[in-house]
Symmetry: C2
Subunit: 301 residues, 2 copies
Amino acid sequence: MSNSVLVVGSVAFDDVETPFGKRVDAIGGSAVYFSVAASHFSNVRLVGVAGQDFPEEIVALLKKHSINLEGLEIAEGKTFRWGGKYYTDVNKRDTLYTDLNVFASFEPKIPKTFLQTPFVFLGNIQPALQSDVLNKIQKPKFVALDTMNLWINTTRDELMKVIRRVDLLFINDTELAELTGHNNPYSGLRKLHELGLNYIVLKKGEHGAMISNGKSLFISPAFPVLQPTDPTGAGDSFAGGFMGFLTANGGVNWRVLKKALVYGSVMGSLCVEQFSIDGLLNIQRKAIQARFDDLRKLVTL
Amino acid sequence: MSNSVLVVGSVAFDDVETPFGKRVDAIGGSAVYFSVAASHFSNVRLVGVAGQDFPEEIVALLKKHSINLEGLEIAEGKTFRWGGKYYTDVNKRDTLYTDLNVFASFEPKIPKTFLQTPFVFLGNIQPALQSDVLNKIQKPKFVALDTMNLWINTTRDELMKVIRRVDLLFINDTELAELTGHNNPYSGLRKLHELGLNYIVLKKGEHGAMISNGKSLFISPAFPVLQPTDPTGAGDSFAGGFMGFLTANGGVNWRVLKKALVYGSVMGSLCVEQFSIDGLLNIQRKAIQARFDDLRKLVTL
């Protein structure tokens, strides 16, 4: 585990209600989900902001998972808090409230020791901040970006600027349609490749995921989850598994990217099986590998 | 091509409007889509009813595709006619009208020469009629059944009776949820296996398909279709490819069923690329095989 991946994103408390239960003060945020998932594969460097209410136990827990928290700023005020409710159809959710708190004035500060991180994941924050981070990192080897409908609708120009600078975009089906204007995902992918994007990972939740390099596609089904308890963070856990594997591997090529997609699916499925990051903690590498093998068997003739 | 598959289902004229155009008097119906798709693999015996307005050219066309029409009754009156409109989101469609015509009093008549057909597909008709057909066929080797929301909601008891008698059920996600009361497809599949069903094929449209034997799952993605012109008949074409391949192969085992699922995906994709049965006609076996190989490459590391 020599290579490192840097993640910038949110650190949050989530209050989540699903048909399977309720969890208050659950640790969450894109940077946290990503970090814990990626930490099973490589060293992780987290850049984010939390409030003074952020518990020491969580800091200790994340450090134990080989997550470097030098870039976690503890700012005056409270940690970002999100409240959401999921329905029997897990694809429907309502945001009950969003208290940005210290996240409202977040300006990513990259510690000197992080400036030469080879793999970078720009989690779902304002595109202008994603660009700022990218300006600071010295010659990254591979940069991936996540986004969301909010930025597509409110800061499209900034978003398009940063998209042009990265190697890979993580996106889901509705975001892809909104970003490209194409309902057909293959037309949407083509349009993004024409902008110069090398790789696109299309996340389709329980329908799996695909990666496109503009010439070839690779598809992985989702791991069959009998009880998706809490979908929060699934996309970031997916990205964490994907980028963590890529980082550990070091070299980036099509075969490695395809395997990374399967590891992404594995970590996404582990995430949704339990509340918060519970499903991602204390997982043996052997269990991850078993799930990878099961996913491969699902598509083997 | 020695083995035969028998299909009972509808024969229809469809008036279809999609974002890509309009087609009036298009030949359709579950038995027709199934037959043409299956005819690329095996001999097909069609049981259905059409009206006196059914064109001789279509009869000649189907016969040319090694579809045995001895079981096609030409009844006094008009052929079943369906009108539908599809939207940019191809999963949404409105039925504009349904004129049952001769199909309203359809009573499947099985020609003597069809009574010993080894493979049987009970297309989407009233469950009581599906049972009648099953009563008549002498010791079929493998029977598959299709259904729809209408029968799940209006004739559930009859439907459950015939489901218990067949080897395989074709079903889509919303039908599975309605039939089992489970939103989670894996819970739904388990419930159906508990009823004694050996095999279930879950069709998920552009998200692919899976087959379950109660212990193992196999998943095939959908073939990437850049312009799904007309989704009408995709499910029946899928079933046609699946059952046609199974019939040609003769023996039924898990490996063959998995390959059949991929051939089903191939024929479904060929169907939706053009209006009516146009995409299924005049396809070379080589082109079908190329698409099968492409589908396998999509999931190959």
